[in-house]
Each structure stands twice: as C-alpha cells, then as structure tokens.
Symmetry: C2
Subunit: 201 residues, 2 copies
DNA sequence: TTCTCCATGTAAGTAGTTACATGATTGG
DNA sequence: CCAATCATGTAACTACTTACATGGAGAA
C-alpha cells in the first residue's frame, strides 16, 4: 500500500506568472482561431469534428470567452455580417500566440481523466445476469465501432487538410483516437469470443 | 456535412420510472459496497485503485450520497468504531440490488467523453517549435507508461482477487485500460521514430 | 514523537451542461 | 415553404473539485 498514491494530484511545479488564469476553454478558442476558425460558430464546429474525441465545448463557454479574450487584447472582433445575418469575425493579435505557447508549455497536472459511464457500468456488470452484462459489452464495442467510422469519415479529412496546411498534430491526435477505439473493439471481441466458447462447452 | 451530428446527445429512450434521479456517484457507492467496500473511506480507496482509469470520485461526493442512500432505504449504516476511531459501516438492503440493476440496464446516453488536457494541448502543438512539441509527445508517452505500471501493480491484484470471488468484469475493464494505454504508447513511439528519422535525414 | 494512514465530513468555488431565446440564409 | 444550417447569446442548474477541519491508530 505504500506507493498507492502514485497520482495524488499535488505536483504542479508551476512557478509561472500569477496573472494568467484564463480557463482552458479560452485557450481552446484561441487555438481554434489560430487553426483557421473565424466565428464562435466555426470554433464550435471545429471542436466537434476535430477534437470531439478528447475535448468538448459548448456555446455557453465559447461566447463569453471570446468577449474575455477581446477585452484582454488577445483577439480582435469585427462585425462581419452575411447579408442580414450577424456575425463576428475574430482574429488573433500579436500577444495571442505567445500566450497560447505559454499555456501549451505550462506544466499543468494532466491526470488521464476518462470519465466514461459505459465503462463504469461495465465494471459493475457482475450484478446483472450474463445476457444483460454481455449486452453492455456489445454496446461498448458498437460505440467504439461507430466512433471509428466518425473519426475516419469526418475527422480524417480535416486532419489531412490540416496536414497539407503544415499542421501535423491534429493528425497525431486523430491517430491516438483511432488507436484507442480500435484497442477497445479488440478487447471486446476477445471477450465476446471467450464468452461464446464458454457458452458452447 | 449532412451526418455531422452523429452524436447529438438527444436519444435517451428513457421511459423509465420518474422517481429515480440518484446521481451517478450514488450508484458508484452502491456498486462498491456490493463489491465489498464497507466504509466511505474504503469506497474512495476502491474507486482510486480499481476504477481510477475511467471514473474518479471525491469524499465530498461519497459522504453525502451515503446519507442519501440511507434515507432512501437502500443501505443501512451502523456505527462501528475501531477503538476510539469513529467508523460507519454500510450494508445493502434488499432494495439495493434491484436499484443497481435498474441503473445498469438503463439506457442512459453514454458519449465517450475523454477530457484530456494532455491530448488537447498536443492537438495545438504545431504552435510550438519542434523540440517543445516533441516534449509534449514524450510527456504523453511517459504518462501512459506510468499508468500501465500502476494498472499492472495495483489494479491487477485487485482484479484477480475479484475474479477469484466470482466477479469477472473488473478484470475486463482493467484489460480495457491496459489496452488503451498500450495503444497510446505505441502511437507515440511510432511518431517519435518517424520524427527522429526525419531529423537524421 | 512523528509520520502515515484511517476516517468523516463541510463550505466555497469552478467548470460545465441544458434549456432557452432569437432570427437570418440556403437548399430542396 | 419547410427543414437544416448558420449564428449569437444568457440563465439556471448540476456536478465536481479544492481546501479545509478534525482527530484516533499504528508503525518506525
């Protein structure tokens, strides 16, 4: 039991400037603007398609952060209507990129925080009868299979586009996502096979 | 763009009883009590070691939920001091298992919600110079390698114990965790190799 | 005696989601 | 003309974390 506390979240060797304190969502906004998004709406879309796998964001986070970033002088926001439809177009100022870099290289604690209800339920699945438990395994496998489809069909084109534009890390994180879901599918398949053999004995 | 909204979180074919509405943490508490934990402290420990990989919980969620479950008649709480040290020991009532099962087989939406700051930063790593970006990849690989160690050394014995006690799903979820982290390590290694080759060209 | 573990709990704050409100544009 | 998409935004809520407070027990 001695080294159980491997991941106490203490650490944080963070002798950084004390002013910072932008929420993570603000950096996501910054990063997506740099990656080519222009409006709040486009940011939302970009996150949904490209980062969906490891980060989510809602309009209620985006719009207040755009305002905040503008007030902090990190972005400039111009009205840029399409016909009668209002739109704000945001561009990075000179201070934006250094700030983004500072965040990227800041040593925040990064505990791997999967929060997955499906896996959680599976952990307790012994409380169900075999058939019901097995259907949770099926659900999990199907979900990952669907994700793989989405990643290949939707995120891949985006990542390739980014790659052509000189951005190579979107592709890298996409490969992570694909590998993870493929791994989950494999584990489920192995389990299902073992189960059906035990069934047939 | 037509089928972009693959995962709008609507669904919820949840014609279930309207009374439910226990928070997820309450079911975690219930499930861990069933798996052998007795005190709030033991529940915390069990989650940290066994479910750490896909779910976290804090004392501030555990203790109020123990009270709530007791009031709902799902558990019984007895004072059970060790010498002078106070302790409450909780046991499931007859209604507990059906309620746990109901939750397990309830069709909640289960979007795969990885929320991982390290991967998020990696996505934006093109904003850094090569060396710094690469160190983020290193960080990610090391973190997964450490996790693998923890999973093997800490969670594995627990999962084996559970297996001997007739619970097979803790082992299954552990295998998922191991596979996922192994997949991440592999992707990082491939990337690092490609990078060092490009370096040496 | 001092450190780590065992053990229970609360207050305050942060982060994030859901639900709502509004309305224009485009494509079929 | 209807549905989907583009577009911005807020209020209320829920979930969760952090920090704190307290103290006994066992081991070195």
């Amino acid at each position: 039991m001695t080294d159980l506390e491997v991941d106490n979240l203490s650490a944080e060797p963070n002798g950084q400037s004390p002013k910072d304190k932008l929420p993570t969502a603000a950096y996501v906004v910054l990063g997506m603007l740099r990656a080519g998004a222009r409006s709040g709406y486009e940011i939302k879309r970009a996150v949904d398609v490209s980062a969906r796998f490891f980060w989510a964001i809602s309009p209620a986070q985006i719009y207040p952060n755009l305002k905040r970033l503008q007030q902090a002088g990190l972005i400039e926001s111009r009205s840029d209507p399409h016909g009668q439809r209002a739109r704000l177009t945001h561009t990075l100022t000179a201070q934006a990129l250094p700030e983004l870099r500072r965040w990227l290289s800041r040593a925040d604690p990064t505990p791997f925080e999967v929060r997955d209800l499906a896996t959680l339920k599976l952990f307790f699945a012994d409380a169900l009868d075999q058939e019901q438990a097995m259907s949770l395994v099926l659900d999990l496998r199907r979900r990952s299979e669907e994700r793989l489809q989405v990643l290949h069909r939707q995120s891949m084109p985006l990542a390739k586009g980014a790659q052509n534009a000189g951005l190579s890390y979107p592709m890298f994180t996409l490969e992570l996502g694909i590998a993870i879901h493929q791994a989950m599918v494999d584990v489920c398949n192995t389990f299902e096979q073992k189960h059906s053999m035990a069934e047939a004995r």
